[in-house]
Symmetry: C2
Subunit: 143 residues, 2 copies
DNA sequence: TTTACTGCAAAGGGTTTGCATGAGG
DNA sequence: CCTCATGCAAACCCTTTGCAGTAAA
């Protein structure tokens, strides 16, 4: 998504475009490690040294409401996922890394189909996390 | 699970058995609405009026570590799931109700099989949530 | 008897809010 | 111009922690 497309999409959703929001959105959309707010703050500071955490949190809420990102609550804070397609996350319980799981065959979407329509529950979105130990941590800690 | 079986299982895991822990565990294991800590506290108070939130939180940690319950973090607090089998949760974004989704055909387990073994990630547990509007709320708010 | 759990109160930390200033449409 | 976003600081709320007393094993 180019900067122009991003601006157009924001305007289409009635989101007022500011330098801060653009910066936060671009960091979010180009981050694949599911950053928390403080990490987003740090990265945005490289472009906008004067931005504050309030604005980052405010913008995050706006972007979430607009469907650009999905919040993932964890005990130690909220991480954000900018991948709009149905997928699973692999969450390392040791280093807290989060990566998207390969799901070429669309199993998450299929699971959603199974759930939808049963019992009259209207599914709007989903969160699929698998918790465990990533290859790096498994190599380090020889458990 | 009877009270005696619960006690034996706790001892087997090296968990010291106290009246407070038994009460919290029994409330947890007999609650199917995925209660948050304050709700657990209220229910336990019916049996142990003198218990405190500290003890409830302490016990919750112990039970989670022992694998009796799974914490589910949400923006407005943590809910707890006492269903040990792989399943999906249906989370109503309006009334915050959480119910287990029927998964007779084991789709969640199958999805886990797909993820496990790909890329060397060691899966230990999972969380599968579907967010939407429950039948009750759909009937009320005619959206 | 030894270990560690309970209760109480206070602290912790990510996130939200109130308000004056400043910028977008 | 009018509305709404930003920045700053303080407040929020769920959860954790420190400590003295007490109960489990």
């Amino acid at each position: 998504m180019t900067r122009q497309e991003l601006i157009q999409e924001m305007r289409r959703l009635g989101i007022r475009v500011t330098a801060q929001r653009l910066a936060v959105a671009e960091v979010m959309l180009s981050s694949y490690d599911h950053p928390a707010a403080p990490a987003v703050y740090e990265r945005v500071q490289a472009h906008l040294p004067h931005i504050t955490m309030s604005t980052v949190y405010n913008t995050i809420q706006v972007l979430a409401k607009g469907g650009f990102i999905q919040p993932l609550s964890f005990p130690d804070g909220t991480r954000y996922d900018a991948n709009p397609s149905p997928h699973a996350n692999l969450v390392c319980v040791q280093c807290r890394a989060i990566v998207d799981a390969m799901d070429d065959e669309g199993w998450v979407g299929r699971l959603r189909e199974q759930v939808t329509g049963k019992g009259g529950f209207q599914v709007m979105s989903q969160r699929v996390d698998f918790y465990g130990v990533c290859p790096k941590c498994a190599a380090k800690g020889v458990s």
